[in-house]
């Protein structure tokens, strides 16, 4: 049986859809971490059968907004003294700034530096977003 010890102080990102853990791991640049991090793939989930979990044995700051872009079911648990002291519930954000980039090569964001990359939510179920500048619709993750 695989055993990952519980953490004293840090963050547990739970209920990540199976298969997205590694993507999230890289998005958070955890491969560069000099503290203990664990990526658990295909853990048992009552709701979905399988899920991924990331455990971070450190308090790091990151923008939880973009986790909502991946899946609003993801939970972020803040751990202190080995216990969950705060559980952050995510939402699909209405507007995201400088988190994702437009993929349309004709979009002005491909040439104009120093402008914010702004997207507006189109469909919360599909998690599709519209670029502020060229209107291209993308599903970020």
């Amino acid at each position: 049986m695989l055993e990952i010890t519980s953490i004293e102080k840090g963050i547990v990102i739970d209920h990540i859809p199976a298969g997205y853990g590694i993507k999230l791991f890289h998005l958070l640049k955890l491969e560069k971490a000099d503290y203990t991090v664990a990526l658990i793939n295909n853990a048992f989930s009552k709701k979905r059968g399988k899920k991924d979990i990331i455990k971070i044995n450190n308090t790091i700051e990151f923008d939880v907004e973009f986790l909502g872009l991946i899946n609003a079911d993801i939970t972020v648990n803040i751990i202190e003294g080995g216990k969950i002291i705060k559980k952050l519930r995510l939402t699909v954000p209405e507007r995201v700034v400088n988190v994702i980039h437009c993929k349309n090569p004709r979009c002005v964001t491909s040439v104009e530096s120093k402008i914010d990359h702004i997207f507006h939510l189109v469909d919360p179920v599909k998690r599709s977003y519209r670029c502020e500048y060229c209107d291209d619709i993308i599903v970020p993750y």
Partner: protein
């Protein structure tokens, strides 16, 4: 109140604001000379980062007929852009010299960047394959002159609906009006982009997508033709196979209704055969004149003069 506003996307103005512009444009069309001194101390900057003939001429003629002055460039190589200046910096500089600016740019969303950087009015004169809202003003003025109002009509669009910025703008505008229905005629490769489809679906505008023009002509009040461009196709075979499906000629016009008017943003290449030009239902050359009047109205409104 339109004073100080910018027009980048047809959704930037309310129906009432557009009404103000069209009402003034109809007045100007009746007596253009009445407005010849309206912009005597005003300067319009025309920033054309991409070649344009008719849109630039139309704006310049509009400003000159209002008694104003025009500064600007007609291709980026003759401007500081060639030295690598950003859009934001270019427009900030121009704001010091002019009272409003017109911008055409090959990159989609470039005029939106300009608006974010300045306080004076900016008008989108076409950004890549995205939008061209002042062509829409031209189209609507023509539609109103021919049929009184835009509501309760069937609009056909034919040709390149994917990259046709005039098509996107006009569909976005019309989708706010009651009783409008669209017949979208294009090859599968050139159907409307996702954001246009999303908008008309969200607004519950009835539309069908077909790949044959002839059988639907009769139901249309207006047919908006655009050019199918060779460079949009991945191979020559597809282009040759499809191009003739989207050419309007006198033979096809026999299948159109007695009041099916033909519009085209121009320039036309071969998508409307010249044997259609003398048909009274062909209205594309009248659109150009209306374009100047409606741009005069837009300038007067954005400057708060009328």
């Amino acid at each position: 109140m339109l004073k100080g506003k910018s027009l980048i996307d047809p959704s930037d103005f309310s129906k009432e604001e557009f009404r103000e512009i069209f009402d003034l444009a109809h007045e100007i069309a009746k007596d253009p000379l009445k407005y010849k001194k309206s912009c005597e101390d005003k300067i319009l900057a025309t920033l054309f980062f991409e070649p344009s003939t008719r849109t630039r001429f139309s704006f310049e003629a509009a400003m000159l007929r209002l008694g104003g002055q025009v500064i600007g460039f007609s291709e980026p190589n003759s401007s500081s852009v060639a030295k690598g200046e950003s859009i934001a910096d270019t427009i900030r500089t121009v704001e010091n010299y002019a009272d409003l600016a017109v911008m055409r740019h090959p990159k989609e969303g470039a005029p939106r960047v300009a608006v974010q950087s300045v306080k004076f009015p900016v008008i989108n004169a076409g950004d890549g394959g995205h939008l061209h809202p002042t062509q829409t003003l031209t189209d609507i003025l023509t539609i109103e002159m021919l049929k009184g109002s835009v509501e309760n009509k069937v609009y056909g669009f034919c040709g390149d609906l994917k990259f046709g910025r005039t098509v996107h703008s006009l569909i976005k505008f019309l989708s706010n009006y009651d009783g409008v229905r669209f017949i979208l005629v294009s090859p599968e490769e050139l159907t409307i982009p996702e954001y246009v489809r999303e908008e008309i679906t969200r607004k519950n505008v009835p539309f069908i997508e077909v790949d044959k023009l002839k059988e639907h002509l009769k139901e249309m009040d207006f047919l908006y033709m655009t050019r199918v461009q060779r460079e949009r196709f991945f191979n020559e075979e597809d282009y040759i196979r499809l191009k003739d499906s989207f050419i309007l000629d006198a033979e096809k016009m026999k299948h159109a209704g007695p009041e099916t008017y033909i519009l085209h943003p121009l320039p036309r290449v071969n998508e409307i055969s010249i044997d259609v030009d003398d048909d009274p239902r062909a209205q594309y050359f009248n659109q150009a004149r209306n374009g100047m009047y409606v741009r005069m109205a837009l300038i007067l409104k954005l400057l708060g003069i009328k």
